[in-house]
């Protein structure tokens, strides 16, 4: 695999939480523009791996390099990486004391040093993009889960990230709201955004992903294309897992 175009490099990382060995020597790279979907049973380490990419978790050993910047002890490095990497959480994590617009403008103003007018203009454009321009002045608690998640996506996009991470973005949503969030993600994928998505939405994986990684027990079991995975999975564990989630 060529490292020249890889925007994320992960080299042999291990992570333990107490006695739990959550990541057991993961090495992989992600190319610019790639849409990678991470699947695997709960506790397989996929969320931990995702959180290592923006420094929310620090691996015990091994190296993570994002867009040429190593995630090490330097808080400058960590903040620089975080400014380039957007993340969308399962629980949305919108700031409940701020309006939708303020949620999207806050970091633009204090991190990107944009003026209030500039940041509001960008926020309104992004709200239009995720399909809820009329909710600018609402508070998060006044929105449905699907709307909140779309605001969370807009908030991350406002920082002009080079990479977007999604940590089970639809798992906390009612079924009828999953589609609106997936459509927004689909739109991003089409625009060429580099995305790493932890999700069991196989419809999204089929339609938007160009790579699927199956993890189990803190290790990568299978790393392949969606077509290959759905038609002809190589590993027995992958087959078992797929048969469970596809039914």
């Amino acid at each position: 695999m060529s490292h020249a175009h890889s925007i994320i490099q992960i080299e042999n990382i291990h992570k333990r939480f107490g006695k739990v060995h959550a990541l057991r020597g993961i090495s992989t790279t992600v190319q610019r523009g790639q849409v990678l979907v991470l699947i695997g049973p709960s506790g397989s380490g996929k969320s931990t791996l995702l959180r290592c990419i923006n420094g929310l978790e620090r691996p015990d050993t091994g190296r993570v390099v994002v867009d040429g910047i190593p995630l090490d002890d330097s808080s400058d490095h960590i903040n620089a990486v975080r400014a380039e990497v957007g993340i969308v959480f399962q629980q949305f994590n919108l700031f409940p004391h701020l309006t939708v617009l303020q949620n999207i403008t806050l970091a633009q103003q204090i991190i990107r040093q944009r003026t209030p007018d500039e940041s509001k203009k960008i926020a309104r454009e992004l709200l239009a993009k995720v399909g809820i321009p009329e909710k600018a002045d609402a508070y998060p608690a006044q929105l449905s889960g699907g709307q909140q998640q779309r605001v969370a996506i807009a908030r991350a996009l406002a920082m002009n990230p080079k990479i977007m991470l999604f940590d089970e973005p639809t798992s906390a949503l009612d079924p009828e709201m999953i589609q609106e969030v997936l459509e927004t993600m689909m739109l991003l994928a089409k625009e060429g955004m580099t995305m790493v998505v932890v999700s069991h939405e196989m419809g999204f994986a089929r339609a938007a992903a160009n790579r699927i990684v199956f993890m189990d027990g803190g290790a990568i079991v299978e790393d392949t294309s969606p077509e290959q995975l759905f038609t002809n999975p190589r590993e027995e564990r992958t087959k078992q897992f797929l048969s469970k989630i596809l039914n």
């Binding site: 923006n54 929310l56 808080s75 903040n79 975080r82 400014a83 990497v85 957007g86 993340i87 959480f89 629980q91 994590n93 919108l94 700031f95 409940p96 004391h97 806050l106 970091a107 204090i110 991190i111 508070y139 608690a141 006044q142 969370a152 908030r155 991350a156 920082m159």
Partner: protein, 272 residues
């Protein structure tokens, strides 16, 4: 012998099993109405009696000092408490230990003893080491009373802040940090604004409690309401009238403050 279940009246619930809202007459704040009536009665007595009118006029400078001391001590305690609270939630072992030490030591000593210790031990020591004329700062009862109250209350406020900060879900800090904010920026713009809304009721309680505890400053001869009352009642041999008025004045101030705190809580509530 226990009463058989069938003999107990069933709890008031609707068909979904939820408790029904209280009937209208139970929701009336009777205690406020009784207090208002008693207040009107007290005001009528006070302002129709020449004795009471003169007492209340004489005590009013004590009221001023009570409010002055409480206001500044509370403002200072809010700052001290915030710093100590942030130290308590810090992962830095030095800061954490210092914060915990402060909170545990102060909370274990009676406030009156703290005030006396500060005024008779620490303040003179500081004054002796300070060049004139700045040493006067440490010889003023009012200044030292304000600082002693602030240090004493800061420990309780620190725990209140800590509880508020810890009540904010971890995802809020993660979301803020993921947007590139530093720890301090995340605290300032995301965590504290939410935490302070949560702890407004206990902060308000402490404000009212401090107003009452400001009476302890009479022990270091701060001429606030309690000391004034004591001196006037001793000089005139009329304790009943003086202490009744003092109690009435304290009650008026604390209820006024409580209502103000409730107004603030409503004003800053996060829309749902």
């Amino acid at each position: 012998m226990s009463v058989p279940d069938s003999a107990k009246p069933p709890p008031a619930t609707n068909r979904a099993g939820r408790a029904l809202p209280m009937p209208e007459w139970e929701r009336v704040p009777w205690w406020i109405i009784i207090l208002i009536l008693a207040g009107i009665w007290a005001v009528m007595i006070i302002f129709t009696s020449a004795d009471y009118t003169s007492i209340i006029t004489l005590l009013s400078s004590g009221i001023y000092l009570t409010l002055y001391v409480t206001f500044f001590a509370y403002a200072l305690a809010l700052v001290v408490g915030l710093l100590a609270g942030l130290m308590r939630v810090s992962r830095n072992p030095v800061l954490n230990t210092l914060g915990t030490l402060y909170v545990e030591v102060i909370r274990g000593i009676p406030l009156l003893v703290q005030i006396l210790y500060f005024f008779y031990v620490i303040a003179p020591a500081l004054a002796d080491r300070t060049p004139e004329p700045f040493d006067q700062l440490f010889r003023s009862e009012v200044n030292m009373g304000i600082i002693a109250l602030a240090i004493g209350y800061g420990a309780y406020l620190a725990e209140t802040y800590r509880a508020g900060i810890e009540a904010i879900p971890r995802g809020q800090m993660e979301a803020a940090r993921s947007l590139g904010m530093s720890y301090v920026q995340a605290m300032r713009y995301v965590i504290l604004p939410q935490a302070i809304r949560i702890i407004l009721p206990p902060l308000g309680n402490d404000f009212v409690a401090m107003l009452k505890d400001s009476a302890l400053l009479s022990a270091i001869s701060v001429k606030e309401l309690t000391l004034w009352t004591r001196q006037r009642s001793a000089n005139t041999f009329r304790p009943l009238e003086h202490w009744t008025i003092a109690a009435f004045l304290y009650l008026t101030m604390t209820i006024g403050l409580s209502l103000f705190v409730r107004y603030i809580e409503r004003k800053f509530a996060i829309p749902k």
